[in-house]
Each structure stands twice: as structure tokens, then as C-alpha cells.
């Protein structure tokens, strides 16, 4: 069959048969240990600098940022953002316990539905799993509490992220997911998002709002004691 033909062709090129068991064991050990390679210095900064770097790169990539001191301030920050952008205050929200626990009822201006995004939804509210400071990137693993469609279908995506969940390098984000994710299998979909959707296909000029969100807004909860002076 094709598998055998392809693997056989590779082995002939490598001038050997199937890998001897001792070598296969060494490779399995490498997979299990998944060693890191060089981490850039920009991922090794003290936490306050790391968080500022995250904020800086995020905005350089055309996302916007609001910083609040406590989770209780999130609903107000969301309402304020929508008002400032002149957007109708109707949202679809990820059914994540941390978002559900917020005092939305204090913001009667907002109409909120929970669930995945549908084609008709205009504003999505997503739960940020982690932030990666080296590029100003959001890590958004899909799952029942964090629908992937919320990252894609709405014109405006708002992500709520805790500063304590900002890491320096992608490798650290992977380690968070390995430690917290269930059973050694990745979620179906792990998205890293750096700014709103864009294209430079027309005459090599960058335009925002290709097929994904035109606006990406992050509400950052400054909950990291190590990050305060």
C-alpha cells in the first residue's frame, strides 16, 4: 500500500530499514521531553517589562487595549468601548465561568447571549487563555468554554485577559496548556491571534478586516502582583 511505498522510499534514501529499536526509543524520549530551542532575550524580561512589551506589540499590530485594575471593572470597560466606537451593545459571549461570573447586570446597556458565534453576530466576547509577550499574541484554545467561531465570525472581537496569564515565550504558553489541558491531547483547535484580520493581496498594501474581525480589542485585568511596582 501507499504507506509502505512512501516509508520504503524514504528508508531506501536513508540507506536503512525501519529505525532500530534503540534509536526509536531515543526519538520517543525526545518527543516526551520536547526540549526547547533558543528563547529570544525579549521573552526573558522581568514581569512588568514583559507585560508592557505585550501591550506594545499588541497595539503595534492594530489591536486596541483597555486596562482595568479588577475583574469587576470589565463589564463597564466593555460597555465604554462599544459606546466609544459607536457599536450597538449586543454581544455573543463565550460560556466561560470567568466571564459568566462578572457583574454584567450592572451594565443594563448590554444585551448578551452565550454560546458560539453565528453568521449574524456582530460583536464577540472571548475569554483569553494566555498572552504571549514576545509578539503581543493571544492564545485561544477552542473548547466548550471558548468557541473558535468567536475568534472568526464577528466584525469586532473583544478578549478579556488577565495580566497574570501573560507569558514571555510561546513555549511557556504550550507548557500552560500541557499542564492544564486534559489527557495529553491538544484541543481540536488552538489559535494564536496577533491583531485583527488583514490582507496585503491588493497591490501589496495592508488593509485591515479581510475575512476575520476588523477590530480586536483586549481588556486586560491587571491582576499580577509581580507586575506592580
Amino acid at each position: 500500500m501507499s504507506r509502505d511505498a512512501i516509508l520504503g522510499g524514504i528508508r531506501r534514501g536513508l540507506r536503512r530499514g525501519p529505525l532500530p529499536e534503540d534509536q526509536a526509543m531515543a526519538l520517543r524520549a525526545r518527543l516526551a521531553a520536547h526540549p526547547r530551542h533558543l528563547l529570544p532575550a525579549r521573552t526573558r524580561l522581568p514581569r512588568p517589562a514583559l507585560i508592557e512589551q505585550f501591550a506594545g506589540y499588541l497595539q503595534r499590530e492594530f489591536a486596541t487595549l483597555a486596562r482595568v485594575t479588577a475583574a469587576g471593572d470589565v463589564p463597564g470597560a466593555v460597555a465604554d468601548y462599544l459606546a466609544a466606537e459607536n457599536l450597538a451593545p449586543v454581544l455573543v459571549m463565550a460560556p466561560h465561568p470567568a466571564l459568566r461570573a462578572l457583574a454584567w447586570s450592572q451594565q443594563p446597556r448590554l444585551t448578551i447571549r452565550e454560546g458560539r458565534a453565528e453568521a449574524t453576530d456582530v460583536i464577540g466576547l472571548q475569554h483569553g487563555y494566555a498572552g504571549v509577550a514576545e509578539t503581543g499574541t493571544l492564545m485561544l484554545p477552542g473548547g466548550p468554554e471558548r468557541p473558535t467561531t468567536l475568534n472568526l465570525l464577528c466584525e469586532t472581537e473583544i478578549v478579556v485577559l488577565r495580566a497574570s496569564r501573560i507569558v514571555g515565550a510561546y513555549e511557556e504558553a504550550w507548557d500552560l496548556l500541557r499542564a492544564e489541558g486534559g489527557g495529553g491531547m491538544l484541543p481540536r483547535n488552538v489559535m494564536f491571534v496577533t491583531g485583527p484580520s488583514r490582507s496585503a493581496d491588493i497591490e501589496s498594501v495592508l488593509e485591515l478586516g479581510a475575512h476575520g474581525p476588523r477590530r480586536l480589542h483586549v481588556v486586560l485585568i491587571e491582576d499580577d502582583p509581580a507586575a506592580r511596582d
Binding site: 512512501i6 522510499g9 534514501g13 526519538l27 525526545r30 520536547h34 477552542g142 494564536f192 501589496s204
Partner: protein
């Protein structure tokens, strides 16, 4: 795809006289290198990362059989299916079979060079499945029936007037007097058109920038988000990937990702980098119910262990063509097949044969710029030199070419004789090759096999296999 590589010189003459193309080239050949240089300057570790990237790919290729098997096992563990495809035909058939099994009428597509390589769109369309390209550049090329001219900026050669004209011609239900005053208006029209397609499609087909053995994931990098809509909304997700895309771990993929976006567009990271693993899980609110990986060889395993193995490190960033004075003069279409620029000049002869693409390795000034920017340190000028030497040794003169073509033409005009000869030939080759599974000598093609081994047919012809497949389809 129709191959025009043998007419490289004529193609190049035409390209140099094409004013629109030259305008576009002037724009991109300045923009890409400047953006890459700025991104590289902002990361002091870039040079060290290039070496790390090279070593990761070399390690992966030295154990490619092991990592492919590991990848396949983990895809299946996550509820996906693997389709091992030795040839372009096998990959087309596999993709079509999945579409048919899903009862698909339309398939949305993310940008995939493998799809171009195997000619998937025409094949699907001929078999009742309408393919819809969703990358903005690929979308307009599909409207215009043109091949891509660049591996990451497929429609860079078009100017705004071309976009407007194509959209007016294709979107006839929209008001004829609408105004495209800015590029944004073109983008908005495409977004609205394609949104409906994303929602209606039964199958989504994407490529993959990497495959991760550790987790069984495919990795897709885009800026538009079209690839993610393609792999999230339809019921079925098909990944088209070639065998050399596999790397061992998430850490290995991460290091290569640090190189990819910077080398390609000069971004620190592309907007969307997505790891897809298997099918939607029972509690997931969205995502495809089925996940398939069509794993394509198509000549790559024959490069392993040869001096061209280095080419299999390529991560398709396009830096080599963005910095190439030849590409900058003649553009992508001149190369006559899927892969242009320095990487194409090395890869194309390996994949479609030096008899078709023998001119491409000559399309070089040997300035060395490509090698100096390649994020995985592929010695592109040296590999082009290897091809030139081979072509010289093989004495591929117009006279032998003419003789072989005349012979082929004689058979081609006589279908019965062609079938008979290929059946007899395949049987003989099957016997000859059985001992090693690979043929170091092929009658009538001494020149071709001097430089490469031909995988031995399994004692059967395409016609015979096709007929058998037909019978099985009819039978049940």
C-alpha cells in the same frame, strides 16, 4: 497544471515586456526585503535561530519515516484519518472521495501550494464538486483562471484596475455603477461574497505549514482568517500536506514559526497561527465533525538521501524569490509551473523531471542572495549548479529530446498501442524493480535515471488500476 517551464526564455521575454507586471515587481521587490530586514534587525537571535531551524529540519528528515508514522498514529488517536498518497493522482482521488462521501457540492479552500501542485481545483470541478478559493489573492486568480505567480502573494502581479475589472465581470448581480474608490472597497466586496460561501460549504480544504508528530496537529498560518473559517465552519476539514512538513514537537514548530513570518512578510507573527488536531470533540460547540490529512509524496521521498535532500527543509517563506534579481525581472509565471524563483528552480526539476524543467536552474546569476536569506540555510545556488551539471552530463540535446517526444507522440496517437506498451512496460519494470523497489536504469530514459532512481511501479498501469477502481465503485 499546464507546464510551460520548457519555454522559460519565451515566457521571460513576454514578462519583461509586460508593463503591469513590471510595475508590480518594482513594488514588491522593494517592499518585501525592507520589511524582512526590519523584522530581522529587531530580533538579535535571528541568525542563531536559522541554525536551529536548519537542525530541526535536518533531524526531522533523517528520521522522516519515524515521525510520519508517529504523526499518523496521533492524528488517528485524535479522531482524524490519514491518506497516504504516493502520487498527485492518488491525492486528487483521495480528496474527491472524501468530498463525495460527504455529499459535498462545494468546497471552500485556503491557499495551498500542494493543491496547485496536484491540480486539485480542475479535478474537483470536473467531478461535480465546486472549489471556491477564499484567500483574496487566490480568489481573484480563480476568477481570472490564472495560476499564482508567487508562493505567498499569489496575485501580486495584478494592479487595482485588474481587480476592479475582474470583480465587475464576475459579480454581475451587484450594481454596475458601484464605485471602487479605495482598495478597501474591493476587499469589502470580496469579504461579503466569500462569507456566504464559507457558510454554505460542505467541505473545507486547507494546506499546512507544518505537521507536528507529537500531537498529530496540522499548523496553518494566515493573515486573512480565511484558512480558519475554511477549517472551522464546514462539516469536513481536509488538510493537504506533503511529507516533508512534519516536525517532531510543538517546540520545534515554534522555533520554525519564529523564522517563517519574519522571512515571509516581515511580521513578527502572522495574524492567525492555528494548530488543528483531529475532529471536533463531543462537547465542542463548533469545528468540523471529520478531519482528514491527505499526505502527499509525489517525488519527495526520492529526494531523501540525494544532494537535493536539503531542499526538503524549505518552509515556503518566499524570501528567496523576494530577493532574487532573476525573479525580480521575470516574475513568477515565467517559471512555468507551481514553484517559482530559486526554490522553484531547484524543486521543480525534482518533481516534474529535468526534461521539463531543465532550463530553470540556468535562471540564476549565482549572486547568492537567496541562500543568505533562506531561514533554513538551503544552499540554493549549489543545488542549481548540481542540476546544471546533471543536465550537461545527460547530454539533453534537442535531438534526443525530439526522438523521445516523437516516440511518445506515436504512442499517444494510438491509444491501444499505448496501453499495451505501458502495461508490458509496467510489468517488466515491476519485475526489474522488485529486488530493490527502485529502478536505477530505465530503458529509453537512460538520461533521466542517471541522476535519479525511479520508484518501481507495482506491476500495474494507471489504466488497469483505474478500470479496477471503476468496477469497485460500480460494484459497491
Amino acid at each position: 497544471m499546464h507546464v510551460t517551464s520548457p519555454q522559460f526564455k519565451q515566457n521571460a521575454d513576454r514578462a519583461m515586456a509586460d508593463v503591469g507586471l513590471q510595475t508590480a515587481l518594482a513594488r514588491t521587490q522593494a517592499g518585501f526585503p525592507a520589511r524582512r530586514a526590519a523584522a530581522v534587525a529587531a530580533l538579535p537571535e535571528f541568525e542563531a535561530l536559522r541554525e536551529a531551524g536548519k537542525q530541526i529540519k535536518d533531524h526531522s528528515l533523517a528520521h522522516l519515516d519515524f515521525y510520519l508514522d508517529t504523526f499518523a498514529a496521533n492524528v488517528e488517536r485524535a479522531g482524524g484519518r490519514i491518506h497516504w498518497c504516493a502520487t498527485a493522482e492518488a491525492a486528487r482521488d483521495a480528496a474527491l472521495a472524501i468530498c463525495q462521501e460527504a455529499g459535498a457540492r462545494t468546497a471552500t479552500k485556503g491557499k495551498s501550494m500542494i493543491s496547485e501542485e496536484i491540480g486539485l481545483n480542475d479535478f474537483l470541478a470536473a467531478n461535480g464538486v465546486t472549489p471556491v478559493e477564499t484567500d483574496l489573492g487566490e480568489y481573484i486568480l480563480q476568477l481570472r483562471h490564472e495560476p499564482p505567480s508567487h508562493i505567498i502573494a499569489p496575485a501580486f502581479h495584478l494592479n487595482r484596475a485588474d481587480w476592479e475589472a475582474s470583480f465587475r465581470a464576475a459579480h454581475r448581480d451587484l450594481p454596475a455603477d458601484r464605485v471602487f474608490s479605495e482598495r478597501r472597497d474591493i476587499l469589502a466586496e470580496a469579504r461579503a461574497r466569500l462569507r456566504a460561501q464559507f457558510l454554505a460549504a460542505d467541505v473545507g480544504i486547507t494546506g499546512a505549514n507544518f505537521l507536528v508528530a507529537e500531537t498529530g496537529s496540522s499548523v496553518l498560518v494566515t493573515n486573512e482568517g480565511n484558512g480558519d473559517l475554511t477549517q472551522t465552519l464546514p462539516r469536513v476539514h481536509i488538510v493537504l500536506a506533503s511529507i516533508e512538513k512534519v516536525v517532531p514537537t510543538l517546540e520545534d514548530a515554534t522555533t520554525l514559526l519564529r523564522l517563517l513570518a519574519r522571512s515571509a512578510t516581515g511580521q513578527d507573527a502572522s495574524v492567525y497561527t492555528t494548530f488543528s488536531t483531529g475532529a471536533r470533540r463531543p462537547a465542542d460547540p463548533d469545528g468540523p465533525a471529520a478531519y482528514h490529512v491527505v499526505l502527499l509524496d509525489n517525488g519527495r521521498s526520492a529526494m531523501v538521501g540525494t544532494e537535493f535532500q536539503d531542499m526538503l527543509r524549505c518552509i515556503r517563506c518566499a524570501a528567496c524569490m523576494n530577493h532574487c534579481p532573476v525573479y525580480g525581472t521575470v516574475g513568477g509565471h515565467s517559471y512555468g509551473w507551481v514553484y517559482p524563483g530559486p526554490m522553484g528552480s531547484v524543486l521543480t526539476p525534482s518533481l516534474i523531471g529535468v526534461d521539463q524543467a531543465g532550463q530553470l536552474p540556468n535562471a540564476s546569476t549565482f549572486c547568492g542572495k537567496c541562500e543568505s536569506v533562506c531561514p533554513v540555510k538551503i544552499p540554493l545556488p549549489n543545488l542549481m549548479r548540481h542540476w546544471r551539471e546533471r543536465e550537461f552530463e545527460r547530454h539533453l540535446t534537442p535531438a534526443t529530446l525530439r526522438r523521445n517526444l516523437a516516440l511518445w507522440a506515436w504512442f499517444a496517437r494510438r491509444p491501444a498501442a499505448y496501453r499495451l506498451a505501458t502495461r508490458a512496460g509496467a510489468a517488466v519494470l515491476g519485475i526489474l524493480g522488485r529486488r530493490r523497489g527502485r529502478l536505477a536504469y530505465l530503458p529509453l530514459a537512460g538520461g533521466w535515471t542517471e541522476g535519479r532512481d525511479l520508484p518501481a511501479p507495482e506491476g500495474d498501469t494507471f489504466f488497469a488500476r483505474h478500470a479496477r477502481a471503476e468496477r469497485q465503485r460500480v460494484g459497491g
